[in-house]
């Protein structure tokens, strides 16, 4: 694992150095400019990475890995519960009914499954209360962990707008765990696993914000489970799986993970935005104080929200459409709502989210200002076309890297040509520089 130093932040994504060919596709799409290429490999800057998964989508060699838990880990527990997002079922063809899928999952070794959105109905009550009382408007949903991390890293002045109510995943997990406890089961015997559609949710479980510790034992890769289920189905290898399945789910809960799922279910003026670039564009406006009269913002990192998660195999538009169809047939009332209230009310709030301030130029303001001036002067020298040939995503980021140390002006091909012409740089030296960034990409 290649990193720019150790980090205190857990990440849901990592680069497999043995597979990475240093093509820089990931570097170009990273919304926080957290990636660089050097010595022919991509490296993630851990303080800036928000686990949004844009890099994972574009990697042509599948060198970016989701840091999920080993499937065998489930057998450390007597009670093995899998929390399943509804969209998982919406990926399969109609004749593969949820009951069949459930029994296949039972064959794999899980003893119980539960829709992860079951806690939504109780959350809606709390959210309406929270939004009404909040003085930091617009309230921003805590649902998408990539967005929460984006705000911590890029929009530190908006951390107080993040709703400090747990997402449905954590509410449902707490509920199930408490139910076992109430039945007298020792909690050491219960493993709660989450079937994740993305990397950000893994980071959120392992390293939650707001001083909260998740009771969830591990994350299972949805992509992997999809393949396992399909395989069993195609080989007609199912039917014996005995599994407890509390599939109570309301239409609000089924819709929750789709775009507008939260916005349509809450009172007041709500707006739903999906896609990380769209979210960034809008948060810029919020930060400028340019948005008035909006009570609640549902912001999702992926296009089509969780249906577009990086570990979702089905087409995002079809999955979302399927969810809406199923939601229209589902009941409106959660029969367990009273129990959810009783069990989860003491836990539903977490502490304020802290910004992830990254002091690019150190903590001494005098030095930092001088360094920033150096950066601005360097930018004037560079061509401004953001070609990425220097191993940094933009001319600006190269200038920053030079001032922070470790990079040089001659990493820029334009500067190389200029300096070669002026006799300040030999061709061999230029080739050495390029090989240091990209590795040996050709025979020299």
């Amino acid at each position: 694992m290649k990193d720019e130093g150790q980090s205190k932040y857990y990440r849901g994504l990592e680069i497999r150095e043995d597979v990475c060919v240093g093509c820089s596709h990931c570097m170009k799409v990273c919304p926080t400019e957290a990636l660089r290429v050097s010595e022919g490999k991509a490296a993630i800057h851990p303080e800036l990475c928000i686990d949004c998964g844009q890099c994972y989508r574009v990697c042509p060699t599948r060198a970016i890995r989701v840091v999920d838990d080993d499937f065998q880990k489930i057998f450390n527990y007597k009670h093995r519960v899998l929390l399943i997002p509804n969209l998982f079922f919406s990926q399969f063809e109609e004749k593969m009914e949820p009951d069949i899928i459930a029994s296949i999952i039972g064959d794999m070794g899980f003893t119980e499954i539960c829709p992860v959105e079951q806690g939504v109905d109780y959350l809606i009550e709390e959210m309406n209360n929270y939004i009404e009382k909040s003085s930091d408007k617009p309230v921003i949903s805590s649902y998408c962990p990539a967005v929460v991390r984006l705000i911590q890293v890029k929009f530190p002045s908006l951390v107080d707008n993040i709703m400090t109510l747990l997402p449905p995943l954590e509410i449902t997990a707490k509920y199930i765990l408490t139910k076992y406890e109430e039945e007298g089961v020792s909690l050491d015997e219960v493993g709660i696993f989450y079937l994740t559609p993305c990397a950000a949710k893994i980071a959120a479980i392992k390293d939650p914000v707001g001083g909260y510790a998740s009771p969830i034992t591990g994350a299972i890769n949805m992509d992997l489970l999809y393949s396992k289920v399909m395989l069993a189905y195609k080989q007609k290898n199912f039917g014996s799986g005995n599994i407890k399945n509390d599939d109570n789910i309301t239409s609000n809960a089924i819709r929750w993970s789709t775009t507008k799922g939260e916005a349509n279910a809450t009172r007041g003026v709500s707006l739903a935005i999906d896609g990380i670039q769209n979210v960034i564009e809008f948060l810029e406006k919020v930060e400028n104080g340019d948005i008035e009269g909006v009570d609640f913002l549902e912001l999702r990192g992926c296009d089509e929200s969780c249906s577009g998660g990086i570990l979702v195999r089905g087409n995002r538009f079809l999955v979302a459409d399927n969810l809406h169809k199923r939601a229209s047939l589902a009941p409106w009332v959660n029969p367990n709502i009273k129990d959810y209230r009783r069990i989860c009310a003491p836990y539903i709030r977490f502490d304020d989210v802290q910004p992830r301030m990254f002091m690019k130029y150190g903590s001494d303001i005098k030095v930092a200002i001088r360094k920033m001036e150096d950066v601005r002067n360097l930018i004037k020298l560079l061509p401004g076309i953001d070609c990425g040939c220097c191993g940094a995503p933009s001319c600006e980021s190269l200038a920053e890297d030079i001032v922070r140390g470790g990079k040089e002006v001659n990493n820029c091909v334009f500067m190389q040509v200029k300096n070669e012409k002026q006799g300040k740089l030999k061709v061999d030296e230029a080739i050495d520089i390029m090989e240091k960034i990209w590795g040996k990409k050709y025979d020299s």
């Binding site: 890029k154 530190p156 002045s157 908006l158 951390v159 810029e284 406006k285 930060e287 400028n288 104080g289 340019d290 008035e292 910004p355 301030m357 990254f358 002091m359 690019k360 130029y361 903590s363 303001i365 005098k366 930092a368 200002i369 920033m372 001036e373 601005r376």
Partner: protein, 137 residues
């Protein structure tokens, strides 16, 4: 460090560019987010004032060790009564400007509330100069 920007009167599509750019610099310096918010709100209001009322203007932001000074110099009609302009809710913005969601008359008082130092001078028929200072801590 001195940052300089030009602002064109009447061009609302560009309104907010200066505050976004200054905001980016302050974030990179690691300034307290609460302070950044005050700078951005004040600067955005002031920037919109130039767009809404003046013909053109220049914004100069100077960062020293303790804070940021922002001077907004515009060529425009000027303000006849600064005293009146400082009253919350008072506005001379045109109907068109108001229809775009600006011109509620909260601009100048809002800027003053967010700034540590606030000086405004204006000459009718010439232009207005706004000078604010906000401490980092």
């Amino acid at each position: 460090m001195v940052l300089e920007y030009k602002v064109e009167g009447g061009d609302f599509t560009q309104a907010g560019n200066v505050s976004s750019s200054v905001k980016k610099v302050l974030k990179q310096l690691g300034i307290n987010p609460v302070v950044i918010k005050r700078v951005v709100v004040a600067l955005y209001e002031a920037e919109v004032n130039i767009v809404a009322h003046a013909y053109r203007g220049v914004v100069t932001a100077t960062l020293d060790d303790e804070g940021i000074r922002i001077v907004l110099d515009d060529e425009g009609p000027g303000i006849a009564s600064i005293e009146q302009a400082m009253v919350k809710g008072y506005s001379t913005a045109s109907k068109e400007v108001r229809e775009m969601g600006f011109g509620a008359g909260m601009g100048l008082p809002n800027i003053k509330d967010n700034a540590d130092e606030f000086t405004i001078t204006s000459k009718v028929g010439v232009g207005t100069r706004l000078d604010i200072y906000i401490h980092y801590v």
